[in-house]
């Protein structure tokens, strides 16, 4: 579509610019709010340019007691909680899915397809549907208010298993046969051949799953009662509900910005592998 029509060019640019504004404006306002005094954001009109309190707000949010008058955990602790949870979920999901896809593709065992379809069917069951029984199990195992409780119930993943199955199916059979002749046992083949060959897919999935884990809201809200174990996404909501005073927008917005940062960093760091993993078909 190489056409040179001024009107079309104008419209496409207008649409693009409008899109950028729609996405960027809230983020800009978050940034602006995070750089003013708390009182400033409650006065109309709200400022559109950054103020001079950014570093002070930053320090207060990250290391201080957060909201004035509230016994709230410093945000670095919540960031850490979120990070541990997201990494555990992403890592656990990838490990389990790789192994189950390996079993389903490369081993013959009774009811193999049955197991595959059972895994596949759980795709249709989101976390929310099984949340009560899962809570019961986690509570009985004494995993409330712990990293185990935050991550383990979210680790099983049909999507990732299914995706790795498709990846393994594209690897030619000769690769396995040649490894067998070379004397590689099943786990050796898994480590030496399968994992390196699905490296880009693992990276792509890691990005998706990390963000999935980071953005968990309902599950951490349910099983963490101890404020030391709260995740950052949950805490933003709690900050808004501060009793008997108007919300301290500067702190809340700074927290929101800090919450946005890690997923962005992960995407930027793994961008190249991410795109390769989703588009590469040749093995």
């Amino acid at each position: 579509m190489v056409e040179n029509r001024p009107v079309l060019t104008f419209i496409t640019h207008a649409v693009l610019i409008l899109g950028v504004i729609m996405i960027a404006l809230p983020i800009w306002i978050t940034f602006v709010a995070a750089s003013h005094e708390d009182i400033r954001m409650t006065q109309a009109p709200i400022p559109m340019l950054p103020g001079g309190y950014f570093w002070e707000n930053f320090k207060r949010t990250l290391f201080g007691s957060g909201l004035a008058g509230n016994e709230i955990t410093p945000v670095w602790r919540m960031l850490l909680n979120s990070l541990v949870m997201a990494l555990a979920i992403a890592g656990g999901k990838i490990a389990i899915s790789l192994l189950s896809a390996f079993a389903i593709v490369y081993f013959k065992f009774p009811f193999r397809m049955g197991f595959f379809w059972m895994i596949f069917m759980t795709l249709m069951l989101p976390v929310e549907v099984r949340i009560l029984p899962t809570f019961e199990v986690v509570a009985n195992l004494g995993m409330l208010n712990s990293y185990w409780g935050l991550s383990i119930p979210l680790i099983a993943s049909a999507t990732a298993t299914f995706m790795f199955r498709q990846v393994f199916l594209t690897i030619p059979d000769e690769m396995l046969e040649s490894a067998r002749i070379d004397g590689a046992g099943p786990m050796r083949f898994f480590w030496d051949i399968l994992i390196p060959l699905s490296r880009t897919n693992i990276a792509a999935l890691f990005v998706i799953l990390f963000i999935f884990g980071w953005n968990q809201y309902l599950w951490p809200l349910l099983i963490t009662t101890d404020s030391d174990m709260t995740t950052i996404v949950v805490s933003i909501k709690q900050m808004l509900e501060a009793a008997e005073q108007s919300p301290q927008w500067n702190i809340i917005m700074m927290t929101a910005m800090l919450a946005m940062l890690p997923p962005i960093l992960v995407v930027i760091a793994m961008q190249k592998l991410f795109v390769q993993g989703l588009t590469e078909t040749d093995k």
């Binding site: 030619p172 000769e174 690769m175 067998r180 030496d192 093995k283």
Partner: protein
């Protein structure tokens, strides 16, 4: 170096038997080519020797050891695959060393063997490259290098040249042959290409529909094909077949012509004559009406029909021949170059 013995090998998938009682003894250092059309079971047979397919009944032995139940890695074999099956994420060097590394050979020994194989195959310059940076012919060499470093008792080749272009195929064919002679390793080579089969093999095993049609040297197979199938499969252009009636050392063709033959058989037969054995002779008994001459330079292929019938015949004449469509040419065939097969079973009759 080892002998290989195939003893009444059978392969079934469910109730379908695809290989029927394959029998064969392969000697030390022999180069055996298994040849046949696609679907004849030749690759399955090779994979049974490799241990990639289970044996339904019968026995495979290498040396004096029955290897039916051994893992491929324990059979002391090396295999070269059609699509090379190189590990894409490893360098050429790592590809060749991988099997040795698993066997836990000392590092210096691995390095020595890899370099030796690289020298033989002239791939020393590519040792640090990944397979995707190599051309088809170079990948083929690496695949062979991977087989050589193992120093196995048996080489197995599964149509290793069919992914290469025609010119490279001829060159690699020669190299495989020279290499095998030099290393003296017993080899089994599967192909559907009869030129590869004729040029490479010490002996050919011609397979058809899961049966061994003939097992012999290329010249035996060419000169004394055991059946109509073998006769038609080996040789290019393929043999002419003419239905005939035999009686008292005479063959009567469908158009009434009679030709002399050495055979004493009686009854309906199939007469086979190779295109290159039809000799132009003005007093010849076989009259052919030319449909289409094909001039190839060194030879001229004359496609036609036996006069008075619809039986297609091809003759290969030396040099450039001026025959034109519609001409009638007369041919003679030496008695010893006529092959007579039973019309029913297709088996050779002496």
């Amino acid at each position: 170096m080892a002998k290989i013995k195939l003893d009444s090998l059978t392969k079934s998938y469910g109730t379908t038997e695809v290989l029927h009682h394959i029998q064969g003894d392969i000697d030390h250092g022999e180069f055996i080519v298994i040849v046949g059309p696609s679907g004849c079971g030749k690759s399955t047979l090779l994979r049974m020797v490799a241990g990639l397919e289970t044996v339904t009944t019968g026995e495979v032995s290498i040396g004096d050891k029955v290897i039916n139940d051994l893992e491929p890695a324990d059979r002391d074999i090396a295999m070269v695959f059609q699509n090379y099956a190189l590990y894409p994420h490893m360098t050429v060097e790592q590809n060749m060393a991988y099997g040795l590394k698993i066997r836990k050979l000392p590092k210096e020994e691995i390095k020595r063997r890899v370099e030796e194989a690289a020298d033989i195959l002239e791939i020393r310059d590519y040792l640090k490259r990944k397979p995707r940076q190599l051309s088809g012919g170079q990948r083929q060499r690496v695949a062979m290098g991977r087989a050589i470093v193992r120093d196995p008792q048996v080489f197995l080749f599964d149509e290793p040249l069919s992914n290469l272009d025609a010119k490279l195929r001829v060159q690699m064919r020669l190299e495989i042959r020279k290499l095998q002679r030099r290393l003296g390793v017993t080899s089994i080579y599967v192909t559907h290409d009869q030129v590869e089969a004729m040029t490479l093999g010490d002996r050919l095993m011609v397979l058809n529909g899961g049966y061994v049609e003939q097992f012999g040297t290329p010249i035996e197979v060419y000169e004394k094909p055991a059946s109509v199938f073998v006769a038609g499969f080996i040789g290019s252009p393929s043999m002419n077949f003419i239905a005939a009636e035999a009686e008292n050392g005479l063959l009567t063709l469908p158009n009434g012509t009679t030709i002399r033959t050495a055979s004493k058989t009686v009854g309906p037969v199939t007469l086979g004559i190779r295109p290159e054995h039809l000799l132009p002779n003005d007093a010849g008994a076989i009259e052919v009406e030319v449909d289409l001459p094909e001039q190839l330079g060194a030879t001229t292929l004359v496609h036609g029909r036996i006069v008075g019938t619809d039986l297609p015949v091809t003759a290969s004449l030396n040099g450039i021949n001026a025959a034109a469509s519609g001409d009638v040419l007369k041919f003679d065939a030496p008695v010893e170059q006529m092959h007579i097969f039973d019309a029913q079973s297709g088996k050779r009759i002496e």
